[in-house]
């Protein structure tokens, strides 16, 4: 059990995933929710790389997938921050509960 294997990484990623989900579930700050999303994406990345490392056979598909996830996450963050700024401009806050103009 001391020597690490695939399961250790997977458990770690699971914890990371749950933390990210928890953050998404409890934060009212839009930026906070974004951070939760980043955590979730990172847990996925850890999984990808770990599978890539411990997978039998050659190739590095997992790393490539993780690379694309990183790229997409960066893009998503940029758009999300821009959205947050717009929300702030309109509502003077980034509390997501106050962005309820479409809520009946």
């Amino acid at each position: 059990m001391f020597i690490v294997g695939l399961t250790h990484y997977l458990i770690l990623a699971a914890v990371l995933f749950c933390c990210g989900v928890f953050v998404m579930m409890t934060k009212r700050n839009a930026i906070g929710i974004l951070m939760g999303v980043e955590l979730v994406l990172n847990s996925v990345n850890v999984n990808f790389v770990a599978f890539d490392r411990y997978r039998p056979g050659g190739g590095f598909d997992g790393q490539i997938a993780a690379l694309f996830v990183i790229v997409l996450a960066a893009a998503e963050a940029a758009v999300a921050v821009a959205i947050c700024m717009n929300v702030y401009k309109n509502l003077n806050t980034i509390d997501v509960d106050r962005g309820d103009a479409l809520h009946g």
Binding site: V21, M24, M25, I33, F51, P56, G57, V96, H103
Partner: protein
């Protein structure tokens, strides 16, 4: 597309580009440069035109010109369909187009140069906005339209460009639109042109409906076919028999006559023929270069050009109508010119008179002479207008000749070039020799043809007007029973023989001619046609002849009052000067007045005449007055007219000497200033007043047309106010009452009840359904994650028997 078509089209396109350039970037280009842009565009077009002209002369030498013409006629771009009729865009490539194009571009180039100098000295601001670039912008647009008009092979496009030049004329006459007289003159010109264009549209509609094509060559072809088959426009059912009076002397040609007159109406408007001549003198309100370019050299000549183009669609009656209108115009306007004191007005009336000469020549059948007169006139009249512009500019915007005099010393170049123009328009030359200036040859020839038509006609019909139905029907019989096959040999042979005199290889030409037969599909006998053509009334000949004496008189008067004698206004005289950029174009145009009197134009027009005036019903009778390179045999082919020139000796002296006599008279009267002229004027009293008031045309139009329009408008207004408004108000009240009822009773209870009920129900239902929809992301995430957790738990515990043992990824060996 041959190179020539490309060159010509390119020249047109350059003008359009220049127009857009000036329109968009004109203000940024600034005062001198906007003008130079237009000049550059025009000069490049002129270069292209020169290349085309030189090349085309070479083609004629080689005998390949006709092939190129036919190729251009085939090589057309299909633009649209009107009904089943295709409308094609193409270049009408023949000698006439080439020389017209050259003439327009050449004159326009030098007038543009002149304009740069002319506009430099004018205040060019209205309400703080510069008009300088706009002037050249309009000029470029005009050049585009005019050149497009010249190269159009299609009547529709010809009409489009026709209207465009009308627009440009309107814009340029009203260029100083902040002045009342200018804007009035612009409107007058435009509206008068609309009257003529109405007739033109009428003619176009007839071409469209009866001939079925708007292509110039195609229309002529169909016209000839229908004439031979007595169908279509020549159908007898269209004859108008009004109490025994036939519109046309030849039965079955009524509609064709109407069509020709309709087409000519356009020319009447543009070329300011009687009774639509009233706008042209007022058009002098525009800047002088505009007067030179548009209202003397090019646009007003477009009417004559149109007649030349549709010559093949004319009937003898239409031709006679044209001749009559031209004759009236040339005489009446020349007389007005005698009493004018405004230098530009004087030139304007002289222009009217000369245009009348051209139209008259067309009516007589002097196709070549008319166009030759057009060409030479364009050069020297443009030059004279520019000279007058120079004088006006130099004399501090003084246009009254009575205040001028003795300007020769101050403006020698202008004076001499103006004198050359005066000589040219007066028909300066030595009779029975080849020495002379432009007007000498052309007037001589026009009058010769008129003499022939009036006195040498085989079967002279003294009383013109078509009252003699029997003669008319006899002529018609001659025409319709005429056998094409039989005459073909004669006629064709005559043609070939005639061409031998001016073409190198007759056989080749003949082959080429046969190869593209569609140009003249149905040859016809000249003699037969001439039998149908009635004689010219003799008063017309005499009017024209007298006017030939009037013209040198008023031109000499104009020149003498302006440039010779003693200065009559010291202020004006002190101010007089001339600037190089303005007199240089004068010199160039003067040189070309000489050149075009002899070289270049005459042979090319004669070449064009072979096809363009080869009509089924009318005849081009001239072509003999120029000693070389013209198809003499064309008139010889019509055997009845070989004697036509017997009277020419008499005419040569009568016309050729006119300038000398009139010059002497003018010199005697105006030698010492205005006193003798004033005495003569008071002696003639009412006649002079009549002439000064321009035969009261403006007053008559004003009374009958303007007042009439106003009266009609009053009636209409009353109808509008009392009847139409009453109806509208009534219906509105009824609607209002009905709406009030329906709003109170139906809307409030029935409609609203239904919709409120539906809305309330759906609201109640949706309140139940939306309670979990908090609109908060975190709650949604909570639900989703909770769902996922439940699924995982279910997988683990419910289906746990097979769950844990699954080996994932075991096969992943590659």
């Amino acid at each position: 597309m041959s190179n020539y078509e490309t060159y010509l089209t390119l020249g047109v396109a350059i003008q359009l580009a220049s127009f857009f350039l000036l329109m968009l970037f004109g203000p940024r280009l600034g005062k001198p440069w906007a003008g130079w842009v237009a000049v550059a565009a025009m000069a490049s077009a002129c270069g292209l035109a020169t290349i085309t002209l030189v090349g085309w002369m070479g083609e004629i030498e080689n005998g390949t010109a006709a092939a190129l013409t036919a190729a251009a006629a085939h090589n057309q771009f299909h633009w649209a369909d009107i009904g089943k009729m295709p409308v094609n865009i193409g270049v009408k490539l023949d000698s006439l187009t080439v020389i017209m194009y050259f003439m327009v571009t050449f004159i326009a180039t030098w007038i543009f140069v002149f304009s740069v100098g002319y506009m430099a000295g004018h205040s060019d601001e209205v309400a703080g906005k510069s008009k300088f670039h706009r002037f050249f912008c309009y000029l470029s647009l005009f050049a585009f339209s005019m050149l497009g008009l010249v190269i159009s092979s299609n009547l529709l496009f010809l009409f489009i460009f026709w209207e465009l030049v009308g627009l440009c004329s309107y814009l340029l006459i009203g260029f100083y639109f902040d002045k009342k007289f200018a804007s009035d003159a612009a409107m007058k010109a435009f509206i008068t042109n609309r009257v003529g264009d109405f007739g033109f549209i009428f003619g176009l509609m007839m071409v469209f409906f009866f001939l079925g094509t708007l292509d110039l060559d195609g229309a002529a072809r169909v016209f000839a076919d229908q004439f031979h088959s007595q169908a279509g426009i020549f159908g007898r059912e269209y004859d108008i028999n009004l109490l025994g009076w036939h519109v046309s002397s030849v039965s079955g040609t009524t509609l064709a006559t109407m069509m020709g007159i309709g087409l000519f109406c356009g020319a009447m408007g543009k070329s300011a023929q009687f009774p639509l001549q009233v706008w042209l003198p007022d058009a002098m309100a525009g800047p002088t270069p505009v007067s030179a370019l548009i209202h003397a050299a090019t646009m007003v000549a477009a009417g004559v050009y149109l007649v030349a183009r549709v010559f093949r669609l004319l009937t003898p009656e239409a031709q006679m109508f044209i001749a009559a209108v031209g004759c009236i115009t040339l005489t009446a306007m020349a007389l007005i010119a005698i009493v004018q004191t405004d230098i530009k007005k004087c030139l304007a009336y002289s222009t009217l008179s000369q245009l009348g000469y051209m139209v008259f020549a067309m009516g007589c059948g002097a196709w070549i002479a008319a166009l030759f007169h057009l060409m030479t006139h364009a050069f020297f009249k443009a030059m004279m207008f520019l000279g007058s512009g120079q004088v006006i500019e130099g004399c501090h915007h003084e246009q009254d000749m009575r205040k001028m005099g003795g300007l020769m010393r101050k403006m020698p170049v202008t004076g001499f070039t103006f004198l050359i123009g005066v000589l040219a328009i007066s028909g300066f030359g030595i009779p029975k020799t080849d020495i002379g200036l432009g007007g000498f040859f052309s007037k001589d020839e026009i009058l010769a043809v008129a003499w022939d038509r009036a006195y040498m006609w085989d079967e002279p019909i003294e009383d013109h007007g078509g009252h003699h139905a029997d003669i008319a029907s006899a002529s018609a019989f001659q025409l319709v029973s005429f056998s094409p096959d039989q005459e073909h040999g004669d006629h064709g042979g005559g043609h070939d023989e005639g061409r031998d005199t001016h073409t190198e290889s007759a056989g080749e030409h003949g082959d080429a001619h046969a190869a593209h037969g569609p140009v003249i599909e149905q040859p016809h006998g000249k003699a037969a046609i001439m039998a149908g053509v009635s004689a010219l009334p003799r008063w017309m000949f005499w009017c024209a002849l007298i006017t030939a004496y009037v013209t040198p008189f008023y031109m000499m008067r104009c020149w003498w009052l302006t440039f010779m004698g003693k200065p009559r206004d010291q202020h004006v005289h002190d101010h007089a000067h001339e600037s190089p950029m303005m007199w240089f174009p004068l010199v160039v145009l003067a040189v070309f007045t000489f050149v075009c009197s002899y070289a270049i134009f005459r042979p090319l027009i004669a070449d064009a005449a072979v096809v363009a005036s080869d009509a089924v019903m009318v005849v081009g009778l001239d072509g003999v007055a120029v000693p070389s390179n013209d198809p003499v045999a064309r008139s010889e082919a019509a055997g009845a007219f070989i004697h036509l020139h017997e009277a020419h000796d008499f005419l040569a002296y009568a016309v050729g000497g006119s300038w000398l006599i009139s010059f002497i008279v003018a010199f005697l009267i105006y030698r010492n200033g205005l006193e003798v002229g004033a005495k003569l004027k008071s002696a003639f009293g009412p006649i002079a007043t009549l002439l000064e008031r321009k035969y009261y045309f403006d007053e008559i139009y004003g009374f009958f047309l303007v007042m009439g329009c106003r009266a009609v408008a009053q009636v209409c207004r009353a109808f509008d106010t009392y009847f139409v408004d009453m109806l509208a108000n009534l219906s509105a009240k009824i609607t209002e009452r009905f709406a009030a009822f329906s709003g109170r009773a139906v809307d409030a209870y029935v409609v609203d009840g239904v919709f409120n009920g539906i809305a309330a129900t759906s609201m109640d239902v949706s309140d139940v359904f939306r309670s979990p929809q908090t609109g908060r992301i975190r709650n949604y995430v909570l639900f989703a994650t909770g769902g996922a957790a439940i699924v995982i738990l279910v997988l683990l515990f419910i289906d746990g028997s097979s769950g844990p043992g699954v080996v994932l990824g075991a096969s992943g060996g590659g």
